[in-house]
């Protein structure tokens, strides 16, 4: 793992955050909030993606982002009107940027013309409205380009007539705080899609600028090399409160791709000019040589010079006394984030270690509390008080640590608008997505497991749920179908609900297919609710034809297995002709589990509380035998498979049959299973420990946990217990 790979990983992390931000901003813009702040945020995001891409040499991404950015810049200036068409184009552009990022991450190549159509439209839009001031483009170097005419766009800071500030001697009238900057970009600067205009604008944020282009080197048109650089700038910056460091910071991104000489006028001697990096001072006289000899850094070197600064000093103070707030400037670098939400990147392993230790602390604390009997309580009142405070602090600590792992579901939800757009396009339906409760927070691990199930559920809604526009109108519904995605907290659970206002589940068809595929016995008559749940059965699909969206029969069973894996459950409800609602019930956190502690033989076992329906004393339970020799039990008219945990785990049970307990658990798809245990000890919270870490997976055991007395108790895998037994009885 080289340093460069680390930087790349960081870059891609940032990209996914920025892409999420883009989705958000455009959701708001699409909803009509077209203010400058949103556009600035979009611009910043695209620019940061482009900047990093340039450093790593992802040229396709850079090219596309550059064209996109140019359009955004014009939109921001008001030169291109932000019409609905432009918004739609931008949203499409976000998807393309996202694909480019994904391609760069995996190293796969996108089709060469991917996004070219959109890119051409950007350029057409940008040219159409603002032909006379084409910024320095990177791809199409207009042959009619006359650098003399370049409008630097620095409103109010027209190129100064009195260039005398550039005379060698410090000028009368040039007080301290005046800086003379000579900025000579190299060919590489443009090749990496940097734009001098943006740099100059950012410089303008530091103080008043006077800019004089050096254009004497522009050759005759016949000798003009469209990729060569003929223009440099002499800049006088009047910014008494700024430092050389903050000026250099402006050029941080392009360090190595340009020559910068900075001299403070009225302070120090002339000739103090220091070239940036290892580059020789500018040699404008001989532009060809300048280009041939300018040290062209390799990407790795470049990344080493640029990225560490960005990563290592995220909190580097932005220009301290900027006349304009940095955000209102061009937002050239991410360092302009001062005053926003402060955050640090922490390795998840480190957080997990803290979570684990807090878990241990909770257990130790409860163990201490259990040790306090009445005599001790009476004798050591101070100790008791101390323990109470300890209990409180521990709980607070636990909550805070869990909050660190928690993330808003937004990170998953924000991927869905694009999915819905694509689905709408492919199916020819009109679908709009509403999201509610995006700021609801869930454990990071849960969030990571949520993306696939949600994708499948939304696909299912779009493909099977929402009807075609014609049919909808015929049924008296609005032409555009709605899929509503919402998240809310309900007690110790998070509910994620996917609702659509489509046709609902076609129960007859579902039952028909289920019978054909042998999922349901031919003579069985399941209830409506049971039929609805059938869509989660493995290998089940009712789609008449296999589309590339859904219908291969994989999908909804993936939802179920993913959700089960993280201790959640899925429930579906459908109203014919009105729509379908799928509810995911997820645990708030995976680290702590509410369990019922039971005894099997002499050993403690724990059963996740979320799966327990009820407990019954064996003497009151109605057991029956089935031909396989197994037992079933009747619970309110329903026959449920009975599993004697002692027998299953090859343990000896000394308890009288009548004194044992039945723990009725609900498994997959509302099917129940009755576990027979020797005793019920009580409920408690436990920290889940992996068995696989030092051993391997054991059938029927989901993991382990450490009890207050320091002993290990095993967590019963209710679903895992059931599966082999079903096979046996079926065979």
């Amino acid at each position: 793992m080289s340093e460069l790979d680390d930087f790349k990983a960081t870059y891609f992390d940032e990209c996914s955050e920025l892409l999420t931000e883009l989705e958000e901003q455009f959701a708001a813009i699409e909803a009509g909030e077209r203010d400058a702040n949103r556009l600035n945020a979009v611009f910043r995001a695209i620019h940061s993606i482009k900047g990093g891409a340039g450093a790593f040499g992802f040229s396709d991404l850079v090219g596309f982002a550059h064209a996109y950015e140019t359009l955004l810049d014009y939109v921001r200036d008001g030169r291109v009107e932000l019409t609905d068409d432009v918004v739609t184009l931008c949203i499409r552009a976000n998807d393309i940027v996202s694909d480019h990022v994904a391609a760069a991450r995996t190293g796969e190549a996108l089709p060469a013309d991917y996004g070219q159509e959109e890119k051409a439209r950007f350029e057409a839009l940008a040219r159409g409205e603002a032909a006379e001031d084409d910024g320095p483009p990177i791809e199409e170097f207009d042959i009619e380009f006359t650098p003399v005419m370049v409008d630097l766009g620095l409103d109010g800071d027209a190129p100064a007539e009195d260039d005398d500030c550039f005379e060698e001697s410090p000028m009368a009238g040039c007080e301290a705080g005046q800086w003379e900057i000579r900025f000579t970009p190299h060919r590489e600067l443009y090749a990496r899609a940097n734009d001098p205009l943006l740099l100059l604008r950012e410089l303008a944020a530091l103080g008043t600028l006077q800019i004089k282009p050096v254009i004497g080197d522009i050759p005759h048109l016949a000798e003009f090399d469209p990729f060569a650089v003929y223009c440099s700038w002499e800049i006088t910056l009047n910014a008494p409160n700024t430092t050389e460091a903050s000026i250099r910071e402006v050029f941080e991104f392009v360090e190595g791709d340009c020559d910068i000489a900075i001299v403070q006028l009225g302070a120090g001697t002339a000739g103090e000019a220091r070239p940036a990096g290892e580059n020789a001072p500018a040699r404008e006289d001989d532009e060809d040589d300048a280009f041939e000899e300018a040290p062209s850094l390799s990407f790795s070197e470049l990344a080493a010079t640029i990225t560490p600064t960005r990563v290592a000093t995220p909190s580097a103070p932005p220009a301290v006394v900027a006349p304009k707030p940095m955000a209102a400037a061009t937002g050239e670098s991410e360092d302009g984030r001062g005053g926003g939400v402060q955050s640090i990147r922490v390795d998840l392993d480190k957080v997990d270690r803290v979570v684990n230790m807090v878990g241990e602390l909770v257990i130790t604390q409860s163990m201490l509390t259990q040790q306090m009997d009445e005599t001790l309580r009476a004798r050591y009142t101070e100790l008791v008080r101390g323990l109470e405070v300890l209990a409180q602090t521990t709980r607070g600590l636990q909550d805070s640590v869990m909050a660190i792992r928690a993330q808003p579901v937004k990170s998953v939800f924000s991927r869905m608008p694009r999915l819905v757009r694509e689905l709408a396009q492919k199916t020819g339906k009109k679908i709009k997505l509403e999201t509610i409760g995006e700021s609801t927070e869930i454990d990071k691990t849960v969030i990571e497991q949520l993306s696939d199930p949600l994708t499948h559920m939304i696909r299912n809604s779009a493909d099977h749920g929402i009807e075609s526009p014609e049919l909808r109108l015929q049924r008296g519904k609005p032409e555009t179908g709605t899929i509503r995605l919402s998240a809310e907290q309900a007690g110790g659970n998070i509910l994620i609900i996917v609702e659509d206002d489509g046709g609902g589940i076609n129960r007859e068809r579902v039952l028909q297919v289920a019978r054909d595929k042998g999922v349901v016995a031919p003579d069985a008559t399941p209830t409506d609710e049971q039929i609805d749940q059938l869509i989660f059965a493995p290998g089940f699909s009712t789609a008449d034809k296999v589309s590339d969206l859904s219908g291969r029969g994989v999908g909804m069973d993936v939802v179920l297995s993913n959700i089960k894996k993280i201790g959640g459950s899925v429930h579906v409800r459908s109203w014919t002709g009105k729509g379908t609602r799928m509810t995911l019930r997820l645990p708030l956190t995976l680290a702590v589990l509410d369990v019922m502690l039971v005894k099997v033989g002499i050993n403690p076992y724990v059963v996740p509380l979320s799966s327990i329906v009820e407990t019954i004393q064996c003497s009151r339970a109605a057991f029956e035998r089935v031909p396989s020799g197994g037992q079933v039990m009747q619970v309110r008219g329903e026959y449920v498979q009975v599993i004697d945990l002692a027998a299953r785990f090859s343990l000896t049970s000394d308890t009288d049959e009548g004194n044992r307990f039945v723990v009725l658990c609900e498994g997959e798809g509302a099917t129940k299973v009755a576990l027979v245990v020797d005793d019920i000890i009580g409920q408690q919270q436990v920290v889940i420990k992996s068995l696989e870490e030092n051993f391997e997976r054991v059938d029927g055991i989901a993991g382990g946990t450490i009890l207050g007395d320091g002993n290990v108790a095993l967590i019963v895998d209710v679903q895992g217990l059931r599966t082999p037994a079903v096979h046996k009885s079926a065979a």
């Binding site: 684990n356 230790m357 878990g359 241990e360 050993n603 403690p604 299953r648 785990f649 090859s650 343990l651 420990k689 992996s690 068995l691 870490e693 030092n694 051993f695 391997e696 054991v698 059938d699 029927g700 055991i701 382990g704 450490i706 320091g710 002993n711 290990v712 108790a713 095993l714 082999p724």
Partner: protein
């Protein structure tokens, strides 16, 4: 004692010592002595019970809590096919690392730290697959035979299917 003499030699021969010799933790199962390389040993603790694991082989004694981590315990006597150890407080668990996993081995007692030369390691006599599978080699120490345990082999096949 071996450890002490090693320290005396450290001054001039340490490089040679590191290359040619092997330090072992020696422990006993009944009358027989076995050893594992000292660098794999993480901890030695008294037997204090273990939570049995269902659906595992007889020689998997169960799991224990080692400062918050669940560690499986293997009964070496049972692994050798001599039936489960009737464990008491005097029995010892040697916690070792095998690959990236930590496991505990239940033995009767830990006897010594031995320094042996790598050149003195003999092959396990062919004949019984249990011996050749579970032992890496044999060394002689003070006229006694010490079997070098192959930890990877000991912890393998711990699961019982069905």
């Amino acid at each position: 004692m071996e450890a002490l003499s090693l320290r005396d030699d450290l001054g001039d021969k340490s490089a040679v010592t590191a290359q040619n010799t092997l330090q072992l933790i020696a422990f006993s199962i009944g009358e027989q002595i076995y050893g594992v390389e000292i660098t794999t040993v993480r901890e030695i603790r008294a037997w204090n019970g273990a939570t049995p694991l269902p659906n595992t082989a007889e020689f998997v004694r169960g799991v224990i809590n080692l400062r918050g981590t669940i560690v499986p315990i293997f009964d070496l006597r049972a692994r050798f096919g001599a039936g489960p150890t009737t464990a008491t407080k005097n029995h010892v668990v040697v916690v070792m690392s095998v690959g990236d996993k930590w496991v505990g081995i239940l033995v009767d007692a830990v006897s010594d730290i031995l320094t042996v030369s790598r050149d003195d390691i003999h092959n396990v006599p062919e004949g019984n697959t249990v011996d050749t599978e579970l032992l890496n080699g044999i060394v002689t120490h003070d006229t006694r035979m010490v079997g070098l345990i192959d930890l990877h082999a000991v912890v393998a096949n711990a699961k019982v299917d069905g």
